[in-house]
């Protein structure tokens, strides 16, 4: 649609009421990330209509619903390791605490190192062969799930100095495209992506040419260099 900048409150209301067609709604969702006025108008509209939802008679909820939610929760990417909740009342000597903290830090570092070394012999959950428009193989993405993916570049790309190659996947239509990371120069790389659902067969992967530092919108904006669908290794 390319929404009317003179009627941002009107667009915001129609978005909040679900009256925009899906393509326009998707455009608003992308635009609101860089247009503070639109984002604020949407927030204001939500607050205006919210009492229609909060005044509703609550439905009876079964414990089963919570169990299904809890079973599907992924770990938070930056979850904070909790310290043991109890400690003896006399244990307030900083020396011991520092030693304990260092020991914990060392354990975590070892665990990360171990995970990294295990990663090298681990099988990817899915492999996607990325093709260009001409059907030529350009790259392969191996997604290990749990925030790790390896991209192997199999062709030369002409990347101007102010551009970078960005790797994307589409876990679901609801999530939209998610960046797995940037590739410095043109070589294979291991990417630390965000926490995502376990990669599935036929999940889309693609690489695009974006401005240096990555897409400003958090969504692919540049030309698609290659794309392909995930296959499960046998």
């Amino acid at each position: 649609m390319t929404y009317d900048r003179n009627d941002i409150p009107g667009t915001a209301d129609e978005y909040v009421l679900g009256l925009l067609d899906p393509r326009d709604a998707a455009e608003v969702e992308v635009e609101m990330e860089r247009d503070a006025e639109l984002k604020d108008a949407i927030a204001a509209s939500r607050e205006r209509f919210l009492p229609l939802d909060t005044s509703i008679e609550p439905a009876a909820i079964s414990e089963g619903l919570w169990r299904r939610i809890e079973a599907a929760l992924p770990a938070q990417s930056k979850s904070i390791e909790k310290m043991p909740p109890t400690r003896p009342a006399n244990d307030n000597r900083h020396g011991w605490r520092m030693t304990a903290l260092l020991a914990i830090a060392a354990t975590i570092a070892l665990a990360i190192g171990l995970a990294a070394s295990l990663m090298r012999i681990q099988e990817p959950l899915v492999v996607a062969v990325l093709l260009n428009d001409a059907g030529e193989v350009q790259a392969v993405v191996e997604d290990f799930g749990s925030e790790k993916a390896v991209v192997r570049m199999l062709a030369d790309f002409d990347v101007p100095s102010d551009k970078t190659i960005q790797v994307w996947t589409l876990p679901s239509r609801e999530t939209g495209p998610v960046s797995l990371g940037l590739i410095d120069g043109i070589h294979s790389a291991t990417l630390d992506g965000p926490v995502l659902p376990t990669p599935q067969r036929d999940q889309l992967y693609e690489i695009t040419l974006e401005q240096a530092g990555g897409s400003p919108t958090g969504l692919p904006t540049g030309p698609i260099l290659a794309k392909g669908f995930a296959k499960l290794p046998r």
């Binding site: 009107g10 009421l17 679900g18 927030a43 607050e47 609550p58 939610i69 938070q76």
Partner: protein
């Protein structure tokens, strides 16, 4: 225009969720899940689909809690918007087409009445109640059918027996009057 609000328990719960605290998510569930399922059911019209919506929404609340920005609206508005968007997406994916076929005409008209009744359940002293009440009935019904029931412009035009273009412009004008009244 920023929507100022005092930080409340839901703000804190979202911040705790972002740090990986599952009991905070459970707290949000205990407080809001009953209403959220009811809100989703008004839109998708089936309890099983409504629970599916709320289940997916809670996963999203968990994975996106770090993106919630208290300077841009209330935590409650953010949480309800996630559920509403999931429910509306389910409609767009066409699941309601199927359910509408199962529903007879009587039940259909009951649902329209339920949607309109949402206005009557509002706090009578609230600005939203008064400002909706100040609109012509057709505009009020159109806005309520869209927000409460998730009806599209076409569905609203059909049920109010007015041309599509008229429905669109009436709703747009109704929304503008509402903003002015509540400003």
């Amino acid at each position: 225009m920023l929507t100022g609000h005092a930080p409340d328990d839901l703000d804190k719960a979202l911040a705790a969720c972002a740090k990986g605290d599952r009991t905070a998510l459970r707290g949000i569930f205990d407080r809001e899940a009953g209403r959220l399922v009811a809100v989703a059911e008004r839109i998708v019209r089936r309890r099983d689909l409504a629970e599916e919506v709320v289940q997916d929404a809670f996963i999203r609340i968990w994975t996106h809690a770090h993106q919630y920005d208290p300077t841009r609206g209330s935590a409650r508005g953010w949480i309800y918007a996630i559920v509403r968007n999931r429910a509306l997406n389910l409609l767009r994916d066409g699941k309601r087409e199927h359910t509408v076929e199962e529903v007879d005409a009587l039940r259909e008209s009951e649902q329209v009445n339920e949607v309109i009744a949402a206005w009557r359940k509002l706090d009578r002293n609230s600005l939203l109640h008064d400002c909706l009440g100040a609109l012509d009935e057709t505009k009020r019904h159109g806005i309520l059918m869209a927000y409460v029931g998730g009806y599209s412009h076409g569905e609203i035009a059909g049920r109010l027996r007015i041309p599509l273009g008229t429905a669109k412009s009436w709703i747009r004008r109704g929304l503008a009057s509402l903003r002015e009244c509540m400003a």
